[in-house]
């Protein structure tokens, strides 16, 4: 697909493909527009994709870059694991886990950063920056280091230590702001107006957001060029949620996939659930949350940029947006770990807990094929595992072991 222009999602005004993200006429968000191709050779296109590298660049045809991208870190093509034990535990038919912990910096943010950095380099930027709740911070720092670009990473000062350590190690300029993510984001929006830097999630946001489509492309390809019936995915800004749907839509339009867009269920933490609240109340826009309070810090965006579009997607596909408590989130992390061997950060706990909630409520049909998107690694939020299990400390003797540790039933 040829990249056409940046286009306002609200009023359709078009702009050139440079570093801009907001419509000057109505302040609506800009999105990359592609020229729709006629008479696509579907088999040829599939073969070309299959012959590509085992990274997101096998989908370069569907990304907003003018030259073949290069990147030192291999992003994407993460496993799609069939989770029969999880399905059985929840009384569901078919559940798959899109395991994006398997990315270079252990979260889906490698996808969006890879695309944003490639575009930043095409546009001639030498400094890259971002506002982040942690995962994006690590990805920007790592990919900038690999590309030899200077970077500035702005985070809320109260972030999990694992995420701070896992970002600073790459040699970025790490700025810890005393405030919430929304305040960090506002600062970066102002800074983007003053410095000629590529803020991946501000002035490069239209390109950055496109990277999330690759989750849809991979999922469909890994399912044998088929669509899932339902997707359960975390919602913070709403960008990932809506772009996964866009990925499926683009391939349906091209004829690469047959069927309709899956049902989309969004997952939020009760301590910061502006989109879930608006969904429950039937609103079209989100009332911002001033003081997010949840262990799912990577989802703690009180003022979600794509909230209205996330609501529209959930309603249009017959899905929903649900919120779960911090205790549910801890249980979700444990449930996924115990049944699939995948250790997720708290955001994945939110997603797994919402899956459990939907199952319990009877919202998911027995014959449905469900994909849950696990966006980050549990090693990034280790504290959540503390105190959730017992350790047997013993003297190094057989007797001590037999006395202290219950023996497995089958032994």
């Amino acid at each position: 697909m040829a990249v056409d222009a940046l286009k306002c999602k609200e009023c359709s005004t078009e702009y050139p493909l440079d570093a801009r993200y907001v419509c000057e006429r109505c302040f609506g968000p800009l999105e990359v527009a592609y020229t729709r191709e006629q008479d696509v050779d579907v088999d040829g296109l599939r073969r070309r994709i299959q012959a590509g590298p085992h990274t997101i660049w096998r989908y370069a045809d569907f990304l907003p870059l003018s030259s073949p991208p290069r990147s030192a870190l291999p992003t994407g093509f993460t496993p799609l694991a069939r989770a029969d034990r999880l399905a059985e535990r929840l009384g569901l038919g078919e559940v798959w886990v899109k395991n994006d912990t398997a990315n270079p910096t252990h979260s889906f943010k490698d996808r969006v950063v890879s695309v944003a950095l490639a575009r930043a380099q095409e546009l001639g930027f030498e400094v890259v920056a971002c506002a982040s709740t942690g995962n994006l911070a690590g990805a920007v720092a790592a990919h900038s280091a690999a590309a030899g670009l200077e970077s500035y990473v702005f985070i809320p000062a109260d972030l999990e230590e694992q995420k701070i350590l896992g970002t600073g190690v790459y040699g970025t300029n790490l700025v810890a702001v005393r405030g919430s993510y929304d305040e960090v984001n506002r600062l970066c929006t102002e800074l983007a107006g003053e410095h000629d830097w590529a803020f991946v999630n501000v002035n490069l946001r239209p390109y950055y957001a496109e990277g999330s489509k690759t989750i849809a492309f991979e999922t469909a390809e890994q399912l044998g060029w088929e669509l899932p019936d339902r997707v359960v995915c975390p919602v913070a800004s709403g960008s990932l949620f809506t772009k996964i749907a866009r990925g499926f839509e683009e391939w349906i339009d091209l004829g690469l996939l047959n069927g309709s867009v899956p049902t989309f269920n969004g997952a939020q933490a009760a301590g910061c659930s502006p989109v879930a609240s608006a969904f429950a109340e039937g609103h079209e826009i989100c009332r911002p949350v001033r003081n997010p309070d949840t262990i799912a810090k990577s989802l703690a965006i009180g003022n979600p940029a794509d909230g209205p579009y996330a609501l529209e997607l959930a309603r249009r596909t017959g899905g929903g947006i649900d919120a779960v408590t911090d205790d549910d989130i801890r249980d979700g992390v444990r449930l996924l770990a115990e049944t699939t061997g995948i250790f997720t950060e708290t955001a994945g706990g939110v997603t797994t807990a919402v899956l459990a909630k939907l199952a319990e409520r009877g919202d998911i049909g027995a014959d449905e094929r469900v994909v849950i998107v696990i966006t980050g690694d549990g090693l990034k939020t280790l504290d959540v595992a503390r105190g959730t299990f017992e350790t047997h400390e013993i003297e190094p003797s057989l007797e001590a072991f037999e006395a202290a540790v219950p023996t497995a039933v089958s032994a």
């Binding site: 609200e10 801009r20 993200y21 907001v22 942690g134």
Partner: protein, 91 residues
């Protein structure tokens, strides 16, 4: 009441390149009206039917006016009003 309004880069095409403007008004709504009196093309860019467009954020002293009283939020002499696009962020 004299209030300083900070104007984002995306709107400076209609403010003759000005990055800030000092205007009068007792509420955010009145401040914006004074601003529109000076820069006529600004109104339709950020307002629709008298309300702020849904992707426009306005802050008084750094606080989102949706946490205050919206366009009715009172301002005092020397306050700073910031207009910013809502569309930014990921995480």
């Amino acid at each position: 009441m004299a209030v300083l309004v900070k104007i984002p880069t995306q709107l400076r095409a209609v403010t003759d390149g000005e990055a800030e403007a000092e205007v009068d008004g007792g509420t955010v709504g009145e401040v914006l009206d004074s601003l529109f009196d000076r820069f006529g093309d600004l109104r339709e860019r950020i307002c629709d039917d008298g309300d702020l467009r849904r992707f426009v954020n306005v802050y008084v002293g750094g606080e989102d006016i949706r946490f205050l009283s919206g366009l009715e939020t009172e301002v005092s002499d020397g306050d700073e009003v910031t207009i910013l696009p809502a569309v930014a962020g990921g995480r």
